[in-house]
Amino acid sequence: MAQTQKIAINPALALVAAAAGWLVPGLGHALLRRWAKAIVYFCAVAILALVGLWMRGNVFSSNAADAFDMLGFLADIGNGIFYFLAGTINPAGADVSKAYGDYGTRLFATAGVLNLLCVLEVLQIGLGSKEEGPAAVPGS
């Protein structure tokens, strides 16, 4: 049976790490010294977000016209820095007149939701409510 360990509880660090993890995917885990998770989460979110933007997916803004647009905005804002740099990464903007752009919209939203999951895990780790095995403990 795997031995489980918890890190010291530090709510302030947990909140800072969560905010950092939202802004830059994986940064929250890096602040908590979960290096492998930080790299994997950054790569996963970055790949999905960048491919979604390069496929000219739609990026929802905060002035949503209906509930679905608001849900899209909530998912997209989870991308953190990729949301704010969307216009720079893909200056041509969205084109959802083809299925291709529609897939890009889904990939970008998936990246945002995935990053929000990672932010929740950062909070769990920082607040000491998530037990982790030896493989995930810093320095092991």
Partner: protein
């Protein structure tokens, strides 16, 4: 960037299965097994559903 639909699905499956594996498993062996299983499940289910819907496209 021009990717076909299958390549897009593979990228999605790779990224999501890797992230899910690290979110849900602690041991590296478990993570690898889970990531491979989830990746294959994504592909098999998507291809299966695609073939199931194929008759309706004609």
């Amino acid at each position: 960037m021009i990717l076909n639909h299958f390549q897009t699905m593979v990228i999605f499956a790779l990224a999501v299965s890797a992230a899910f594996a690290f979110l849900s498993k602690n041991e590296m062996n478990e993570r690898i097994r889970y990531a491979v299983w989830a990746f294959l499940a994504f592909l098999v289910v998507a291809l299966g559903l695609g073939w199931l819907m194929y008759p309706f496209s004609h």
